[in-house]
C-alpha cells in the first residue's frame, strides 16, 4: 500500500511543474487547424465562423522592465468611459482606503467602496464618483476598473446629498430589523462619501 502511495506521489508534482500559470503563457491565438480543414471541405466558399476568442485581444505579456504608462480600461454596464487609455496614475477608492496605482503595480484585485476615482494624465486630473465596483490590476501595468455607476463630480447635486444624508441618519435611528439598519447604514456611507467628494 505504501509503495503504491509513493508511486502516486511524484506524478502530480511533475505535472504541476510542467504546467505554467495561464498569465505567463503566450496567447494561443491561432485558429484550430483541423476545424478549418473540415470546414473548407464542407463549405469552401463561405468564411468560417468566428469564435469569441478571435474577437478578444490577448492581454499583452508582462514586460521585463516597468512600462512608462499605466493602461486603464474603465467600464460601466452601459458605457466604456476609458478604453486602453495610457495614463500616469489612477487613485481608486478601495475598501482598504484610497489606493494609488502606478505602472508596475503588483497584480491586485480590490473591491471599491463609494468614493472618488481620479485619473492623472500629465498635468490634468479627471475625477469620477464611483458607486461601487472592482479594480483588477494586472502584472503588465493594465488596470481594469469596473463600476456600476460613475459620474463626474460636477453632475452631483449638493442639496440632494445633504437631504439624503439627513434622511438616512434618521432612518438608522428608527430602523428595527437588521436589514433596515444595513440599508440605512449603506445610505449614510454613500451620502457621506458623496459629501466629502464634493467638499474635498
Amino acid at each position: 500500500m505504501l509503495r503504491r502511495a509513493l508511486g502516486l506521489l511524484p506524478r502530480p508534482i511533475a505535472a504541476a511543474r510542467a504546467r505554467s500559470f495561464s498569465t505567463d503563457l503566450p496567447a494561443a491565438h491561432t485558429a484550430d487547424a483541423t476545424f478549418m480543414e473540415a470546414w473548407n471541405k464542407v463549405m469552401p466558399n463561405m468564411d468560417p465562423p468566428k469564435t469569441p476568442l478571435s474577437f478578444m485581444h490577448p492581454r499583452p505579456p508582462t514586460p521585463s522592465s516597468i512600462p512608462p504608462k499605466l493602461t486603464v480600461n474603465f467600464v460601466l454596464p452601459y458605457d466604456s468611459e476609458l478604453s486602453t487609455k495610457e495614463v500616469d496614475m489612477v487613485i481608486v477608492p478601495a475598501t482598504t482606503g484610497q489606493m494609488g496605482v502606478l505602472p508596475g503595480h503588483v497584480a491586485t484585485i480590490a473591491e471599491l467602496k463609494p468614493g472618488v476615482l481620479s485619473v492623472h494624465e500629465g498635468s490634468e486630473t479627471t475625477k469620477y464618483f464611483v458607486s461601487s465596483g472592482f479594480v483588477f490590476i494586472h502584472a503588465n501595468s493594465f488596470a481594469d476598473i469596473i463600476a456600476v455607476e460613475a459620474v463626474p463630480l460636477d453632475q452631483i447635486d449638493a442639496n440632494l446629498v445633504q437631504k439624503g444624508l439627513a434622511d438616512f441618519t434618521q432612518k438608522l435611528s428608527s430602523a428595527t430589523t437588521e436589514l433596515e439598519k444595513a440599508e440605512a447604514q449603506i445610505g449614510i456611507d454613500v451620502h457621506s462619501a458623496l459629501n466629502s467628494a464634493l467638499t474635498g
Binding site: Y78, F129, V148, E149, Q155, G164, E178, A182, G187, V190
Partner: protein, 70 residues
C-alpha cells in the same frame, strides 16, 4: 484561509453583494443634477411582460414597468 473573517455589515445583515451594489448605484443616481438624473433613471428602467402558464396554456400577459427603486 480566513473563512470567518470580519464580514462587511451588509453581508452580516443577510444582503448579497449585488443587492448592496445596486442600492449604492441607485442612491448615487438619485443625487444627480437634473438632466443627468432623468437620463440615468430612464436608462435603468426595466420593461417586461409576465404571463403565467396553467395547464400548458399561457394566460393573458401582464406588462410591468419596474423603476430602479423596486
Amino acid at each position: 484561509m480566513a473563512s470567518n473573517a470580519a464580514v462587511p455589515f451588509w453581508r452580516a445583515a443577510g444582503m448579497t453583494y449585488i443587492t448592496y451594489s445596486n442600492i449604492c448605484a441607485n442612491l448615487v443616481r438619485n443625487c444627480l443634477k437634473e438632466p443627468y438624473k432623468t437620463d440615468a433613471l430612464s436608462r435603468e428602467k426595466v420593461h417586461f411582460s409576465i404571463s403565467k402558464w396553467t395547464d400548458g396554456k399561457p394566460e393573458k400577459p401582464t406588462l410591468r414597468t419596474d423603476s430602479p427603486e423596486e
